[in-house]
Symmetry: D2
Subunit: 333 residues, 4 copies
Amino acid sequence: MGIRVAVAGASGYAGGELLRLLAGHPEFELVAATAHTQAGSHVTAVHPQLAGLDLTLTATDAAALSEADLVFLALPHGQSAALAAQLPESVKVVDLGADFRLQDSALWERYYGGAHAGTWTYGLPELPGRRELIAASDRVANTGCYAATITLALAPLIASGLADPADVVVVASSGTSGAGRSAKVNLLASEIMGDLSPYKVGAHQHVPEIKQATGATSLSMTPVLAPMPRGILATVTARFAAEGNPRDVLAAAYADEPFVHVLPEGAWPHTAATAGSNSCHLQATVDVDSGRIVVVSALDNLGKGAAGQAVQCANLMSGLPETMGLSVFGVAP
Amino acid sequence: MGIRVAVAGASGYAGGELLRLLAGHPEFELVAATAHTQAGSHVTAVHPQLAGLDLTLTATDAAALSEADLVFLALPHGQSAALAAQLPESVKVVDLGADFRLQDSALWERYYGGAHAGTWTYGLPELPGRRELIAASDRVANTGCYAATITLALAPLIASGLADPADVVVVASSGTSGAGRSAKVNLLASEIMGDLSPYKVGAHQHVPEIKQATGATSLSMTPVLAPMPRGILATVTARFAAEGNPRDVLAAAYADEPFVHVLPEGAWPHTAATAGSNSCHLQATVDVDSGRIVVVSALDNLGKGAAGQAVQCANLMSGLPETMGLSVFGVAP
Amino acid sequence: MGIRVAVAGASGYAGGELLRLLAGHPEFELVAATAHTQAGSHVTAVHPQLAGLDLTLTATDAAALSEADLVFLALPHGQSAALAAQLPESVKVVDLGADFRLQDSALWERYYGGAHAGTWTYGLPELPGRRELIAASDRVANTGCYAATITLALAPLIASGLADPADVVVVASSGTSGAGRSAKVNLLASEIMGDLSPYKVGAHQHVPEIKQATGATSLSMTPVLAPMPRGILATVTARFAAEGNPRDVLAAAYADEPFVHVLPEGAWPHTAATAGSNSCHLQATVDVDSGRIVVVSALDNLGKGAAGQAVQCANLMSGLPETMGLSVFGVAP
Amino acid sequence: MGIRVAVAGASGYAGGELLRLLAGHPEFELVAATAHTQAGSHVTAVHPQLAGLDLTLTATDAAALSEADLVFLALPHGQSAALAAQLPESVKVVDLGADFRLQDSALWERYYGGAHAGTWTYGLPELPGRRELIAASDRVANTGCYAATITLALAPLIASGLADPADVVVVASSGTSGAGRSAKVNLLASEIMGDLSPYKVGAHQHVPEIKQATGATSLSMTPVLAPMPRGILATVTARFAAEGNPRDVLAAAYADEPFVHVLPEGAWPHTAATAGSNSCHLQATVDVDSGRIVVVSALDNLGKGAAGQAVQCANLMSGLPETMGLSVFGVAP
């Protein structure tokens, strides 16, 4: 018998991707999948891509979730803390929301509003020393999707002293699943197809998370919604603080990583190559005119940016091989 | 040590999907992947979604392929026969092309041109009695993508006597990967996005294959190119030949099938739910105005319509569990 | 001073397209644009593509609309009748909704529900004798988008005796703007991109309208939602009732029409070529296997399928050149 | 009789858009449209969206073009100079290529290669004093599409002293028509849909043009190909050089411009709103974390970024109203 897992918030996009990954996972046994308005629905009424999976969504209930050894929380930002508080300490938890990511309560309150619930182990295994921390934790705060994309590109460059942490400019575009499954006019297909639209310009809530994870001290980040269902492409630029080759720094940092690939020279990351996978693709160069470091990073916002990352953390927390049940390869075209 | 497999035509879309599936297959060991103009390239230069796979494409060469226990041919239509003739009998072959699908040489010559190379076991395991034939064969002709979509919808209705084989009208739309990876202006993204375009109207070369596989005697089929990378949606209509419930007939035919799902009543197949999977989704009703049977069928043209189906056949031919290395679940959204 | 026009329902997609066309029309002067929840908004807050147009949406109010010489009603189906009843007879009205299209009250009640409001002149100028009727009418019921697409393809073939009205099978795919601007999960970009999904299979409410307009007596129509913002592509097949060349029949029927183009032989309609225009593209052939007539028809559902058609009718009703303010040419790619 | 115009390079996307605009222009009379491999084709075989236009493409020939009063050159970069040299001085010319944009021959040679042909009046009418220069010129070098997007966002901020010209970072995404109509595998729909891909990272050939037009002295620009047929969205960030409100500076600069719209506060430009139009939409703010100026600019790369801009220049050069034959409003959704 495997390790019993449960998903709270199973009706959203990250929840659906979790169910897909868990249904194919050799060791995790899904014992509960809960939802709010969709409680009582067969899973295929909510996620038709899971036809063949016999599962009914139940109401979100701490007692039912407590039957599991490990619970994934895939709830809207701000809703994890209350539910997590009702789960016994013996149940491990991976929170895909933002509630427990930040160390600084003041920043939480400024960007998200409301009281800060606390700080859990930050779940990005590829940061130095971090996979051991995750493996030793019972509570892990999964990275945000933008934060994962940008941190993997930037953290080694700042850590190595190559990039100036005080001068980072990022523009990152996300597929629409990153905006969630709420029925909003601005997310209708008619509005999105053929369109690129910036949003939260000048003040995105992921900025403090990225600064915390990378050591950047000044970060301009502009997010753009792109006409594709999945994927994030981040262009990360920074001024040099010391001489060096940014691609070499990244290649050294991720040489042994199964899911982070610094591409061959001349090849640039693009989102479709990561769709459905838990991989992040990276490439770096120096801009000839400005002399800035330019790193491009691509991943699947529902994969390495959410559900895949969460399963990777759960594998570590459960003493399983870190790559179990996760695909390195994208589904393309 | 596993079963050694090779892929000829590895640089195309079906070839790339085969590589993805084989890289994750527990028993098949990929020993060669060959290509024409891309010979000598690292696989990631051709299929960037396979970053992390260390493989170089080699020239298409019968001797190299003969090292394998089983060879997949993913070549343009008309090119399989010559290569297959050079492979020893001891090597099993699954041909994803059209060369060996038809029984009637005259039809081959009319629709494809050139001499007919012969007829192999037709590789659609869900047809009655067929998976045993496939398991006993060393040479299997994989279904065409349209043929798989339409045959799964129609064959049981004709076999049961419910549908009139002399009055079948089909309109089927395909994603662009079905048109292959050739550089053609009409396949440019600028031309395709926002566009639906019919092609080969009135005379598609898959018609004789579908008639042969389903028993239809008259078939109007109009194919349409749709602005999406993957997926086929076929609307299959036929006049009733006898009373009955078409959904019941389909549900009975596929009750035990792992990859063919007759959806719950009221739910209709759509392509995105099958992306990346080896599943086919079906639903049927009776049109209130005309009284015609209407069946809608959806699958991934590169999955159940090509590479997935080929792996399913190869599993059967190799004595492996039929579902090994294949996903029932789609990658959505 | 021009002819004063007003738009009720200006916040939807058809309403927005009406505003765009009217803003560039040489003779129509827009005096009011009304909306429901968006009343009070500047037009660019609702339709950002109209930046540069200084207009505020007002509440839907019969008195305000009555200031106009001609009112366009672009309201949800079933809401036109009540408002139309409050407009004085001296105000001309073009209704883009379904309320006044059908002659048969029983069919209205079966397909739409509720009481039938009445029957207005059907607004498809290219039907024989119809543009004179429209020009003489003060109340015109604009065609539905599917009905326009299919009727233009089919009506001449039935009228000429070539096509059997008792055996018509249609599959038609529409872009998402045809589904309106309501916030619904199934219309989210994440659900639609990469996806084809059939809907209302077996019983679409446009069937009686199409039968009435074409003379078809049995019509199987399956609508499909396609991943593009605009456009309808209809594949219309029918059995021959008499010998003849279907393309010749269509070419003769539309020889003098400015907006209906039977394409050169070998060229097939596709939706992108009609985007933003008031044109309909047609082509026909005979299916070699079944011997059925196959006609493909493409138009912009918001253009010739809605707002363009409405302006064309309004031009006729106002004694203006029929083509005024309308584009024959599509915006492509 | 109108002003006679001709288009060389009529088979490409910019050429097709020019034909569309010229076909609807009240004063320009199209007397020749030339092409290379497509010479002899009816225009609708090349641009099906122009069904209804009776025009045959002819071979590119200086003598034929010299019949016109004004010639538009829509040729690949580097091919305009040779043809322009064969046109008599009495024929006005608007070049949509890059050949005559740069003042600095060394930069031309570095970024484009080959000998520099010369410098023509730069065709961006909204730059201070420039529309008068254009009106007085017989030879005008139309802006590049990226350059138009970025220059409109940046030039007033540098000119006013608000933005530091030595610290500009831009990421700009373009629809695929910007990459032209050549048959290339990387531009196939299968590769593009669902994908964002950066290209020419670190060294784009438009950088010197943008620096020349804006006064920027250091410019990091990363271009990204986006899955949409038309549109450019540029995120332009710069460090403050002096205190001030960047939106106010832009609003003042473009207060009287018919085609450049600084959006209401809180509204951000998005590409779909500009499709098919000659408009550019702008908005600006200050990034709260980094304190950088952030401007977002959107336009249609074939409209204000190419053909629309060219017609605007041609209107000026011909003494016509600058807005003639051009639409302020986009075709959306």
